[in-house]
């Protein structure tokens, strides 16, 4: 089941503007491939070449070892089905009519649709969950329903190869997921070779196991997710800085674009501020202060914390403590140094427990030395106190020693502006 696709030296130009410039790759039977690349990288063009719509200027495409050109229209349609990005629906065919059109390659001129055809259509509609829409007019369906119908039609073609051209571009996340699930199910159960152009990398990674990344009209990288989806490749192909990380729940590789203005503000001579802790709760504070041009340091954090990643990414000083261990002398020394080097200290709305209370000893020391200390969301401390009240007591003490409470992160910006150094709002 499934067919191989081989693309050799493919060149395509629109009005002498080259789109594909020597594309080369191979797809095995039963592969489940996502075609990635920026807009205009040539994903759709490539698919249109493979589906025989667009004749290439140079190069060859082989389907199961045979030249693509050598297939007759009907023959090719029995082997390959295409799900396009959008289907114009300004006509009144019923859903069943549309799906039945998928049987066209199998019907000779004067043959009517027989029982077998109807059975195939019925199963295709069942599989894509559109059986209840059979008599409805396609013009009345929502985008997601329409795409399912088109998918059903493709399934009814009983293809060996399924090509999808940005099929989820106009769907909500529910339908997106459902559609790609269908495609991978076909691949799993029937061994159909599936190749889909997807612009949403994170979505692709959830459903596909092999990736081809196009850039500059050529294949930039091909293979498994880890090989293809790297910050470097993303930058080269999409032209934006990005970071990759593992999704906390599935561990699936994910991409996130880094916002431009952060790099702009790097080290802009704002006040030096240290932010305590650094899990997710610290992120808003870190981001805001960084944007405002403060020079930050972070800690203590463990290597997996968001705050640690933030620090690494922006090359900030950070105190890293292995997870589930208490700070040792060295850590404490580092921490103390950072505290002393900063002009102000911020305690974000982190939870407090036996594990992190000890670090406040150093904090108290510098507070005594006169450093400004800002505690965000004092009111919520009791809820975040997992130390049996010790945190509340500690903080009260810090307040008595001169620490200030700040209600929200945004207020922090104003306070620090007044407090220290220059800033450039």
């Amino acid at each position: 089941m499934g067919l191989t696709i081989d693309v050799h030296g493919l060149k395509v130009a629109y009005d002498s503007v080259p789109v594909l410039d020597g594309t080369e790759f191979s797809v095995d039977r039963g592969d489940l491939i996502a075609l990635l690349g920026a807009n205009g990288a040539g994903k759709s063009t490539l698919l249109r070449c493979i589906s025989r719509i667009l004749p290439p200027t140079a190069g060859r495409i082989l389907l199961d070892g045979r030249e693509l050109k050598s297939f007759k229209s009907r023959e090719a349609a029995r082997l390959m089905a295409v799900v396009p990005q959008e289907t114009a629906a300004d006509f009144d065919f019923t859903v069943e009519d549309i799906v039945m059109m998928g049987r066209f390659p199998y019907l000779t001129r004067f043959k009517k649709e027989d029982l077998h055809d109807r059975e195939v259509v019925r199963r295709a509609m069942e599989m894509t969950g559109v059986t209840h829409l059979a008599e409805r007019s396609i013009a009345q369906l929502s985008g997601g329903e329409k795409q399912r119908v088109v998918m059903a039609r493709a399934v009814a073609q009983q293809p060996e190869v399924l090509l999808l051209d940005e099929p989820t571009a106009n769907l909500d996340i529910g339908y997106q997921s459902m559609l790609l699930e269908l495609a991978s199910r076909l691949n799993r159960e029937e061994g159909v070779t599936v190749m889909a152009a997807i612009h949403d990398i994170n979505l692709a990674v959830h459903h596909f196991n092999r990736f081809i990344l196009l850039a500059g009209g050529r294949v930039l990288a091909a293979g498994r997710a880890e090989e293809v989806i790297t910050a470097d490749n993303i930058r080269k192909s999409y032209g934006v800085p990005a970071t990759t990380f593992r999704h906390p729940l599935h561990g699936v590789l994910q991409v996130s674009v880094v916002r431009g203005d952060k790099t702009r503000n790097a080290g802009n001579g704002g006040p030096r501020v240290h932010v305590i802790g650094g899990g997710e709760e610290a992120m808003p504070a870190l981001e805001l202060l960084y944007q405002k041009g403060c020079r930050l340091s972070v800690g203590p954090v463990s290597a997996q914390d968001s705050g640690c990643r933030f620090a690494h990414f922006n090359s900030l000083p950070v105190v890293i403590v292995p997870p589930f261990t208490t700070m040792n002398r060295e850590h404490r020394g580092e921490h103390l140094n950072l505290l002393r080097e900063s002009e102000a200290i911020v305690v974000p709305p982190i939870p407090f427990g036996e594990g992190n209370l000890p670090l406040f000893e150093e904090v108290e020391i510098v507070l005594d030395e006169g450093k400004p200390l800002y505690i965000i969301d004092l009111a919520g401390v009791p809820e975040r106190d997992y130390s049996g009240g010790k945190a509340v007591a500690l903080l009260r003490r810090l307040l008595e020693k001169g620490a200030s409470g700040v209600e929200r992160v945004e207020d922090l910006a104003k306070v620090i502006k007044r407090g220290g150094g220059e800033d450039d709002d």
């Binding site: 249109r48 589906s51 025989r52 719509i53 229209s73 009907r74 023959e75 090719a76 349609a77 029995r78 390959m80 089905a81 295409v82 396009p84 289907t87 114009a88 629906a89 300004d90 006509f91 009144d92 065919f93 019923t94 069943e96 009519d97 549309i98 059109m101 998928g102 066209f104 390659p105 019907l107 001129r109 029982l115 077998h116 109807r118 059975e119 019925r122 059986t131 059979a134 008599e135 007019s137 013009a139 009345q140 073609q157």
Partner: protein, 363 residues
């Protein structure tokens, strides 16, 4: 695994059963309308006599009543009216079918048989013939229909060669080229009409369209063209369905779009050229009849094309009858009647459907 149909399948097929019923209704309609048009005319013959004369033509049947009818009435019925009714059926169905094909080919609900200029070319040929004084030439065949026919065909060839890019002919280019050529040729026709002098009457009446010159000779010539044209397009009904979804999609489904486009274009053009050279430019039928059918039975061309043929034929027979009878002995141009009667009917039908089911409806 085949054959495991559930009740649901049978239900949905039940809805499709209405199509054969509709088809039977249309056939019956055509038959009845044709009969009515043979009974009514400028000259009163009486329906009993009409039946008698018609039956009398059957080889194995001799009618006593028929024997008693003056031969002039037989002549009127059999030599004038019957060919006229048959011609109306042939022309009406050709126009309706070609209209349906062009609407599907161009995916444009406003397309009619004349949209790519065949009528202008035919008109030019006809006016050429009329003014050049080639009249009454070429054995039995007027020079006018001959020139008109070839004028129409020449035009479609011209338009086709203008739109062609290599092996392919993009449909949008074809449409635009057709509109441009049509305008140009129409201007030429107007120019010639201006110089028509006393042939003006002739020219104007030809342009307005009408079936008053119907003879058996014309019927014998028109019918083969109508058949060939009809067959060549109806065979590709499924392909036309697929092409409604877009040429790329049709291609994905295995349709050889370039081949199909050429054949459909050729077949429809033949129908239009034959119709126009026979009876001038009769509007409305080709545009509206397919929409009628779509409103009732959906866009599937396997039903649309034969139904349009039947309905178009009926419509033209009926309107021609009205045109003949209403202020006899003067005849009104049939194109006026088709528009005056057809348009309100169409508007009524549109209003009655809550949702517009033709092209471009739906949310």
């Amino acid at each position: 695994m085949a054959g495991r149909l559930t009740d649901k399948d049978l239900q949905s097929r039940g809805a499709k059963l209405t199509r054969p019923i509709l088809m039977a209704v249309l056939v019956l309609l055509l038959f009845l309308v044709a009969l009515a048009a043979m009974i009514w005319g400028a000259v009163t013959i009486g329906w009993k006599n009409v039946f008698a004369i018609l039956f009398d033509t059957l080889p194995f049947y001799q009618s006593e009543t028929a024997a008693g009818i003056a031969p002039v009435y037989k002549d009127i019925l059999l030599q004038i009216r019957v060919p006229r009714v048959l011609l109306a059926a042939a022309v009406g169905s050709s126009l309706a079918v070609s209209g349906a094909v062009f609407q599907g080919l161009f995916r444009n609900p406003m397309a009619d048989p004349y949209v790519i200029g065949i009528s202008s070319g035919a008109a030019l040929g006809a006016v050429f013939a009329m003014l050049g004084g080639f009249s009454l030439a070429v054995g039995g065949f007027g020079a006018v229909p001959l020139f008109a026919f070839f004028g129409g065909l020449a035009t479609i060839l011209l338009v086709y060669s203008m739109a062609r890019v290599g092996r392919a002919v993009p449909v949008m280019t074809l449409l635009l080229a057709g509109i441009a050529v049509s305008a140009f040729l129409s201007a030429l026709v107007s120019l010639l009409t201006y110089f028509a002098g006393e042939k003006l009457h002739q020219v104007i009446f030809w342009l307005m369209g009408g079936l008053s010159g119907a003879t058996w000779m014309q019927v014998k010539v028109m019918l083969p063209y109508a058949f060939i044209g009809y067959l060549s397009v109806s065979i590709f009904s499924r392909e036309l369905n697929a092409m409604l979804l877009g040429e790329e999609t049709a291609s994905h489904l295995g349709v050889d779009t370039e081949k199909v486009k050429k054949i459909l274009l050729a077949g429809a053009s033949l129908l239009v050229a034959a119709a126009v050279s026979t009876s001038g430019i009769i509007g409305f039928v080709g545009l509206v009849v397919p929409h009628f059918v779509r409103l009732v039975a959906g866009p599937d061309h396997r039903f649309l094309i034969p139904a349009s043929a039947l309905l178009g034929g009926s419509l033209l027979i009926a309107t021609d009858m009205i045109a003949r009878v209403i202020i006899a002995p003067t005849e009104l141009p049939v194109g006026i009647i088709t528009a005056l009667i057809g348009a309100p009917m169409f508007i009524y039908l549109l209003k009655k459907r809550r949702k517009l089911r033709y092209f471009g409806g739906g949310g």
